[in-house]
Point group: C2
Chain length 361, copies 2
DNA sequence: ATACTTTGCGCAACCGATTGCGCATAGGAG
DNA sequence: CTCCTATGCGCAATCGGTTGCGCAAAGTAT
């Protein structure tokens, strides 16, 4: 923690307000008012304003954010907490976040908790000590009440003032299940998410409801859950192997996310079943590699970038006007993306022709 | 830029040093010395030290980093600039960076320039105004001399004080080309990188040298370059289509990176050529999706996480002891990863049996 | 000429820490 | 009893901005 030897200053020294003021023969007050257009700005002579601005530009004056923050109690920094930075889901969201945030004059710290309880517990206060003004939690549930605004992406927090950006899971389930139904699948297996994923519960409930509406049966023997550990496609592969061991016939799998769908495809291939001819697989998320996967993954796209954008602009809004009434949650819509991991159920293929189906859609 | 309406403070108010001192009936000086173990610490009575620490713990005192930074001219923040945050390459590096940096007590800002010249030009000064103490550039060349330490990952900057973390491209080229040679490939096509990628030149020169050593011919008609625009696997697909149009026979492709290798596989499949039976494809990087791709990508792995870790710890080192002599570049080693996108050349398959080859390796 | 308003700008305190210097008090030496 | 040296701690300046209040000069009204 402590440094024994003295450490030299490391921040690049730029021209300060004081220097600029001295250069102009004016007070810091006046210069500050001009460059910030702060209250009193209009009472400064136009000539002076121009002189100040010209000099500021020439000397490349840029306010020291640390000093500004100290005085104004605003750091212009927020933080984003994600499960794992090297994963396509989080980074798609981050990409959307970045746009909005930088436009609003904010920078952000990223931290990834990797589902480690100690990190999840300690990060909030560590970030608070860094004076971040707000927090965006991506696919992560925040259990404590924080003294700063929190926006949760894909979160379902019912906590005090947290705003959730969430997908319309009912619509998503409908899109996927109706697609499978149209293709003639009736014995559908389900891969449920890990308990730590904040979407798991919500999505599963939506699936149950929609399956009921569509008359699709959900068989316990055809549902498996992703194991908590494991990285990449591995959990999906393992879950599918367990599924295959049960020896219960099925013609389609609705996976919790694209990673597990890819894992399922790997397991099916290893078991000698072709995708999509023997088994159709539907993923979820539409991460970048879903398109390049072979076969291309049919999946429910979450508008991840948009969710990031919305999260960031919502947070900025909350920072600007804290008192204003905020919606507790904001719904975004999924898009169904049909690629090559789904096909007509074998039983159906015998009775109808593909062209018939196509025109029927 | 400016805010018209007054904005309330947003930083969570914690107990300040002044309050803590008042609570203890001591001066700020003494309290500060105790909590920081700063010079003079030893001259404070042990009793007092204990009292201060106890009170600090009880009131949950945490120094205001803004004030500390202002005074000490150290923000404890560095920045990482990447081409695009939602891409597997950058995020693998980031994952390594995060570990080292947080351990060193630093947080970081991420910005992505997306190859936009305006962003590349403006980000450095924008970051400097944020008082970042150092910069890590990932696959991005920094053209100006910055007043802060810069470490470049996969960069080949010959600039003043920039430290480069680079792959041993000669070894990498050797691994890939020798693999293809062993499999009996002699007509090998090459997909060169985009001009904006800092690795393009270096790697190509290494390939030329190694190909010469191994007696592999590099035919201009069998080399294509990735187009500058395009996202994901698209550039690789387009480049491979161009290659196919030339009607020059080849049995293997060495792609610039995994993305373009996947694009190549897509294009080959579209052209009716099987990978690996008709054409072998070798990628580069070993991004996460290389393993889940179908066929699994044979590729040269860059130790991206390690490169991130090394970059971060090098930067921390530079911040701690600026005067110390620094190596201008640090070499890391590639690992060859053999998956299913490469196979014996067809011509060879007729004469030897696969088992023979296997045992011969 | 006097009084009041407007225009133009500066004084000085403050945000929350860090740190060189110096002032007391106590104990030991002579 | 005086002088000196530790020992223990505080004063006040400083980092680089922001802002409530106020002062002087110029302009306007009477």
């Amino acid at each position: 923690m402590s440094e024994k030897e003295p450490i030299p200053p490391k921040i690049y020294r730029r021209t300060s307000l004081k220097e600029l003021a001295a250069h102009l023969g004016l007070s810091q007050t006046t210069v500050s008012r001009v460059v910030n257009q702060s209250p009193g700005y209009l009472r400064i002579a136009p000539d002076t304003r121009d002189r100040v601005l010209a000099a500021a530009a020439k000397l490349n004056y840029q306010a020291n954010v640390l000093a500004q923050g100290l005085r104004s109690k605003r750091s212009q920094i927020v933080s984003v907490i994600v499960p794992e930075i090297s994963d396509g889901y989080s980074t798609s969201v981050l990409s959307g976040i970045e746009d909005s945030l930088l436009l609003g004059g904010y920078f952000y710290f990223v931290v990834s908790h990797r589902h480690r309880p100690d990190l999840l517990r300690d990060y909030p206060s560590l970030l608070l000590s860094r004076a971040v003004e707000g927090l965006i939690a991506v696919d992560t549930s925040i259990d404590e009440e924080l003294p700063i605004p929190v926006v949760s992406v894909s979160g379902h927090s019912r906590h005090g003032s947290i705003v959730n950006i969430e997908l319309d899971h009912t619509l998503a389930a409908h899109q996927a299940l109706e697609h499978l139904k149209k293709l003639g699948h009736s014995r559908i297996a389900f891969i449920k998410g890990q308990s730590f994923s904040s979407d798991t519960q919500t999505r599963w409930r939506a699936i149950i409801r929609v399956a009921g509406e569509l008359g699709i049966e959900i068989l316990p023997k055809l549902t498996v859950q992703l194991e908590e550990n494991g990285i990449g496609v591995e959990p999906g592969r393992v879950a599918t192997m367990k599924l295959l061991e049960r020896n219960e016939p099925f013609t389609a799998i609705f996976a919790f996310n694209d990673h597990s769908a890819m894992g399922a495809i790997v397991a099916l291939r290893e078991a000698g079943r072709d995708v999509p001819n023997d088994v159709s697989v539907v993923g979820f998320d539409d991460i970048p590699s879903a398109a390049t996967n072979n076969p291309g993954l049919t999946t429910v796209r979450q508008p991840l970038q948009e969710m990031g954008r919305v999260a960031a602009s919502t947070l900025l809004q909350m920072l600007r006007s804290p008192e204003e009434h905020q919606r507790r949650s904001i719904l975004v819509l999924p898009t169904f993306v049909e690629r090559n991991s789904t096909a007509l159920a074998a039983a159906v293929r015998k009775t109808r022709t593909p062209t018939l189906i196509r025109s029927g859609q």
